[in-house]
């Protein structure tokens, strides 16, 4: 039997015995000492461990130990003739403890289940033989085998086989991703369909799984302000309530002589003197919130960052690689009707060039360009291709001007490549750093949550203005050198109002200093970059910005639950304390204020873990 099962049996037996005892003493009147002995026996059945701990606690000088206070309260109840009440207080206290252990265990379980990424073994392929070894033993360069349904144990590159990857555990993404030879593969993903042979690129301790586990396990290292407040409060709460109990038990009876009555009132104080409900429910809420976020592929490094994220009302974005894809792409071909011919012609001229612009044209054309043309580069203008008397020109407007070809100026942003065939203008190709698919939705989502959005970029004013308008950010700063970004963030930090929180969102490449400087640093696609994981407070495991509003909502929900718990638990306890001297509180109500409130607060806290 597990510890919780044993406790449950003890609680059930005690409940039955208590009910029988109450019934019996109602029906027949026993001599008081028999009654007392019977109740005492049941009391010891349910409370012997608490009594033992209380005695031990005093031995160690822990006077305000909750076990001790609980024993004092129940003994007091015995002393004043409230036998059933004494047993019931202990019984309910034990129920509360059991419930708390169960809730905490469940919450811990859900995190470790989520983080059940740690592979037990790796299938090492050596000399054509398959060996099961510990992932820690595999070295870089060795080949491992992953069968369908298995988790990839180490980061590497696929050398043979094809499969669909389930990356849900890492990224929260439910769509399987195809992979084949040459593709990088991260530990923690599950191969769903085929057998893969993978060349290991990182030892276990540097692998993605290890890094994520490490981060989540240490997530609770940084405590939130709400949590610190509660533990500080707990430090003073118990001693104050106990002292008040003593005063209540001693002072009024000196005047009216009603010792029993006042001692009973003082016992109520002892029953509610434990701040447990608060102390447990606040970290439990944060733990739940962190768990909920990681289910969505959002790693939060601690409760304090969840707290900050909930408050964050200025989101500063790096443009390239964060709002945009960070790679050049053909965004438009004008006129659209001539798309294929224009791209094919341009591809002939761009053939073989490694320039990013040429590369994006070749990608869009989907063809490496016809061979046999003699290509001449016209520095700073473009390329001229000739074959059998035909001439292709592909380049900027100056190239066209020099050839006496008049071209329209397209109303588009980005780099424009004009294409001409034998002196006649064919059309143009617009190449730009395209927005990520969900950038606009993410910015909209954040604005709907009341946040201001700022874009920082090294690009020129015109590009910045156009992208800012397209994506919908409220503010932007253009022409920034990498070092200027820190300065700009400093400036924004100084300008912001008190209580306002600034979050910086970057792709983790070269922006570690800014990530550190911001109130909350969010790195995205961060599992690739060690520096980002180190510097950031929140890591989005996938590349999608739409996780940001989700993260903020989870954070806000968690904070709401934390606040509810603090107000509710504190409110009820203070109410009981305030009403007790006037004789308005029975010991039953005091028990509710302690155990019942703790249970409700814990149940409420567990909502934070639900997504």
């Amino acid at each position: 039997m597990s510890r919780n099962q044993r406790a449950l049996v003890r609680i059930l037996v005690t409940t039955v015995l208590l009910a029988v005892l109450v019934a019996v003493t109602h029906l027949i009147s026993l001599p008081w000492y028999w009654e007392a002995i019977a109740y005492l026996a049941v009391y010891l059945l349910i409370g012997f461990d608490i009594v033992g701990e209380a005695v031990g606690g005093i031995g160690r000088g822990q006077v305000f130990d909750e076990n001790f206070l609980m024993v004092l309260a129940t003994i007091g109840a015995f002393g004043t003739g409230e036998y059933p009440e004494a047993v019931a207080v202990m019984l309910l206290y034990q129920i509360g403890e059991l419930f708390q252990r169960y809730a905490v265990g469940k919450s811990r379980g859900s995190i470790s289940e989520l983080m059940n990424l740690r592979p037990d073994t790796a299938r090492l392929l050596a000399d054509g033989q398959e060996l099961e070894v510990l992932p820690e033993e595999v070295e870089v360069g060795q080949i491992i085998l992953v069968k369908p349904g298995e988790r990839v144990p180490l980061d590497g590159v696929v050398v043979r086989g094809e499969s669909a990857l389930d990356t849900a555990a890492l990224t929260g993404e439910s769509m399987p991703r195809p992979c084949g030879p040459g593709d990088e593969i991260l530990s923690g993903v599950i191969s769903t369909s085929g057998v893969l042979e993978i060349r290991v690129e990182k030892v276990f301790y540097d692998s993605t799984v290890s890094k994520i586990l490490d981060m989540v396990e240490n997530a609770s290292g940084k405590k939130a302000r709400a949590e610190k407040f509660i533990t500080r409060f707990a430090k003073y709460y118990t001693p104050i309530v106990v002292c008040l109990a003593v005063v209540l038990a001693v002072v009024p009876p000196l005047f009216d002589g009603q010792w029993v009555l006042w001692i009973q009132k003082a016992l109520n104080f002892l029953v509610v003197s434990c701040p447990c409900a608060l102390v447990i429910s606040v970290p439990l809420s944060f733990f739940g919130g962190i768990g909920a976020a990681s289910k969505k592929g959002i790693l939060v490094k601690g409760g304090s960052y969840l707290e900050q994220l909930a408050k964050a009302d200025i989101f500063v974005f790096d443009k390239t690689g964060t709002l945009t894809k960070g790679s050049f792409e053909v965004t438009q071909v004008l006129p659209e009707s001539g798309r294929e011919e224009i791209l094919r012609t341009a591809a002939i001229a761009e053939r073989g060039s490694l320039h990013p612009i040429a590369q994006s044209v070749l990608r869009a054309a989907g063809d490496p360009g016809e061979e046999g043309w003699s290509l001449t580069e016209e520095a700073g203008r473009g390329v001229r291709a000739e074959k059998a008397g035909h001439v292709i020109l592909a380049g900027n407007s100056r190239l066209m001007e020099e050839a006496g070809i008049s071209v329209p100026v397209p109303d588009a942003l980005g780099t424009v490549v004009y294409v001409a065939w034998d002196g006649a203008y064919l059309g143009c190709i617009v190449i730009a750093d395209a927005l990520k698919e969900d950038s606009i939705a993410a910015i909209e989502g954040l604005k709907a949550l009341g946040a201001a959005t700022v874009m920082l970029t090294g690009d020129n004013e015109a590009v910045a203005a156009a992208v800012a308008k397209q994506v919908g950010v409220t503010q932007y700063a253009a022409g920034l050198l990498p070092g200027d970004k820190v300065q700009k963030v400093e400036e924004l930090l100084q300008k912001k109002e008190k209580g306002s929180v600034l979050a910086f969102v970057g792709d983790g490449i070269n922006d570690a200093p800014v990530l550190m400087r911001a109130d909350v640093g969010v790195a995205m696609g961060g599992i690739g970059s060690d520096a980002a994981i180190e510097a950031a407070d929140v890591v989005l495991m996938h590349d999608r910005l739409s996780a940001l509003p989700v993260a903020k909502e989870i954070a806000s929900k968690t904070m709401k639950i934390v606040r509810q718990n603090i107000v509710f638990a504190l409110g009820i306890k203070l109410l009981v304390l305030a009403l007790t001297p006037f004789g308005l509180v029975s010991i039953w109500l005091a028990i509710f204020a302690d155990v019942g409130v703790a249970m409700l607060a814990i149940l409420n806290a567990m909502r934070a873990g639900r997504v």
Binding site: S220, K235, C276, I280
Partner: protein, 73 residues
């Protein structure tokens, strides 16, 4: 220097808070967090005095909750 230890059988949240306060007062301890949920103790202290400080940490833990054991990370 920062070190993380696992705490076995840390059973009550308030005890975790008490331990944290007691350990923070030990001479040579720069910062300490006791996480009840994660059952972990994160200690920052002078490396040279680690052994001596660790003994005091263990004493603090035993005083609050004798069942709790400090395990290496």
């Amino acid at each position: 220097m920062k070190k993380v230890y696992r705490l076995q059988d840390l059973d009550c949240a308030n005890c975790a808070a008490k331990m944290e306060r007691a350990i923070a007062k030990i001479d040579g301890v720069q910062s300490v967090t006791v996480s009840f949920m994660a059952q972990k103790l994160t200690l920052e202290c002078e490396e040279a005095r680690l052994a001596e400080i660790l003994e005091k940490v263990k004493a603090c833990i035993a005083k609050v909750e004798p069942d709790t054991k400090l395990l290496g990370a």
